[in-house]
Each structure stands twice: as C-alpha cells, then as structure tokens.
Symmetry: C2
Subunit: 135 residues, 2 copies
DNA sequence: TAGCGCTAGTCTCTTTTTGAGACCAACACT
DNA sequence: AGTGTTGGTCTCAAAAAGAGACTAGCGCTA
C-alpha cells in the first residue's frame, strides 16, 4: 500500500494503482523474461516441434550464437522448454517445449496472431506519426 | 523461400521454417516494440484510465524519466496511445489508450493473467533449475 | 593421413541500450 | 524572493547485446 498518509480520503484511481505492489509483481517477474527480443520467436518455433541448436540458428539467421544460448537457457530456467543431449558424435542437443510452455503459448499465440492481423494498422500509425514529426 | 537449391526434396520441417520470411515478419515488427521492458506495464496502466506523465512516473517508481518518455513515444508512434497537451500552467500532458491499443490489450491481458496464475510454477521451475546447476 | 567440416557452445571486444541524475523555463503559492 | 510543480532533455556511466574468433572430438574425403 503506497497511499500517502496525508491524503486520508481513498481516491479511486490511487486505489487502482496500489493494487500493483511493484516489488513482488508476478506479471513483471514473468513477463520481463518472455518479453526478450528473441524469446517469443523461439517459443513460436518450439511450439511447432522440437529443434536442435543448429537448426534454430539456421531458422533465425540474425540471432547470435551467444544470444541463442542465453535465451534458450532463460526459457529453460523458467520451465518453458527442456534441453536434451544426445550422445551422438559430435553430441547434439534438442530443445522441446514443456507443458508449462504450451500452456503459456496458448494466450501468447493470440497476441502473435493479433500482430499479424493488425500489422498494416500499426505501420500506418507509424507513418502518420513520422509525417507529423517533420513539423 | 529459403530452401536450398541443392535439396530438391521438400522436407516438412524446412517447409514450416520458410513460412516465416524473417525480413518482413509482421510478428517481429509488432512484438519487438510491445516486448520492451516497460511497454506492457504502461499499456496495463493506460488500459485502466488515462494518466498524466507525472502520475505514470509515480505509479511506476522504478522507471527513469528518460525511458518513460521514450516508451510512451514508441507506443504513441505505433498507434496504441494518444498524447494530449493541456494548456495549464505549467502545461500538463495526458496519455490515453486508443481503440487500436484496446484491441491489442485484449489478447495481451490474457497473457498477463496467465503470468499471475502461473507465477508459482515458474518460480518453482527456476528453483529446480538453479538447484541442478550447483552440480 | 592430412585436411576439412560438423556439433554446441564459450570468450573477448565493440556497439547499442538503459539507467541516474543534473538541468530547463514559466508560472503559482507563501 | 524563494520554493515547488509541470514534462521533458542532456550528459555520462553501467549494463546488455552483437560480431567474430576459438575449442574438442569425430567422420568424411582426397
């Protein structure tokens, strides 16, 4: 509760605000990680089928090996994907989505589809904004 | 289409891949912006009601003024929010969600609610991962 | 058998992004 | 006259991300 002690009346808008509890906010804790530049892209891929490291690299040509490793580990840490090493030579590693990951991807995919459907509107908004900036 | 000319057979997995068209991908173009650290948080606030700049600053104490300005401008540019200046002294500025923003927030809010509902599972997964890392 | 490529990474260095904080101008209130 | 309020911008430091070299063991080929 962040309500100022000097304002005894409960203002509705401030009441809404204080419901958030910034420091222990589940939404921020979870979203901050899946909101990474590459996270949704990788979740989208692994929602289709499991992929090996190198496959993902070829699938997303402009991700650096460094960020691919790191993002995969973050997703694994939060329980969205699993990592399995196969004892081939050289050893290969497969990544696959977990049940938790699939559960997340269900609502997430709706946002992705919204993005596809409304891409034109967003681009139009950008052009309007940029044009009005020339002033 | 990125299929190698040296592999004439259509492999199913590669076919899935090539549907993406990395360079002109609507999903990436739209998601990359709302995936910013502060974007969803601001959308969440402005979905409730319009806010003034300073109110948002107080509402999200750990955002820097610089990033608040920048994120609000990005959201405005993509057409999710509007900015209105009132000729008070000193002038105040109000930000409010547009219809496009509300349209986006509908599926987005489902992800946010998923985050709330599954926060415990994610935290548990993290602890399991961190524990297994000690090896 | 020497050379090359494949695997999934790590390590280092540079560039980009973000954060912290000072500063601004005009007006209201004390 | 001094202080606070508005919504920013500017500069500099810190953190994150990108680019590219490097690793090791094995298979294939010349």
């Amino acid at each position: 509760m962040v309500l100022s002690k000097t304002s005894p009346q409960l203002q509705r808008e401030e009441f809404d605000i204080t419901a958030w509890d910034m420091d222990n906010c589940p939404v921020r804790d979870v979203i901050d990680r899946i909101a990474g530049k590459w996270s949704t892209l990788l979740l989208e891929a692994l929602a289709i089928r499991p992929y090996r490291f190198g496959e993902l690299r070829r699938l997303i040509p402009d991700i650096s090996q460094r960020m691919l490793t790191q993002t995969l580990r973050d997703l694994q840490r939060d329980g969205y994907i699993e990592r399995e090493v196969f004892p081939t030579k050289p050893p290969s590693v497969e990544y696959r989505m977990t049940d938790l990951g699939r559960s997340l991807f269900e609502p997430l995919s709706k946002v992705l589809r919204w993005a596809e459907a409304n891409h034109a509107d967003v681009k139009a908004a950008r052009e309007r904004y940029d044009a009005s900036e020339l002033a």
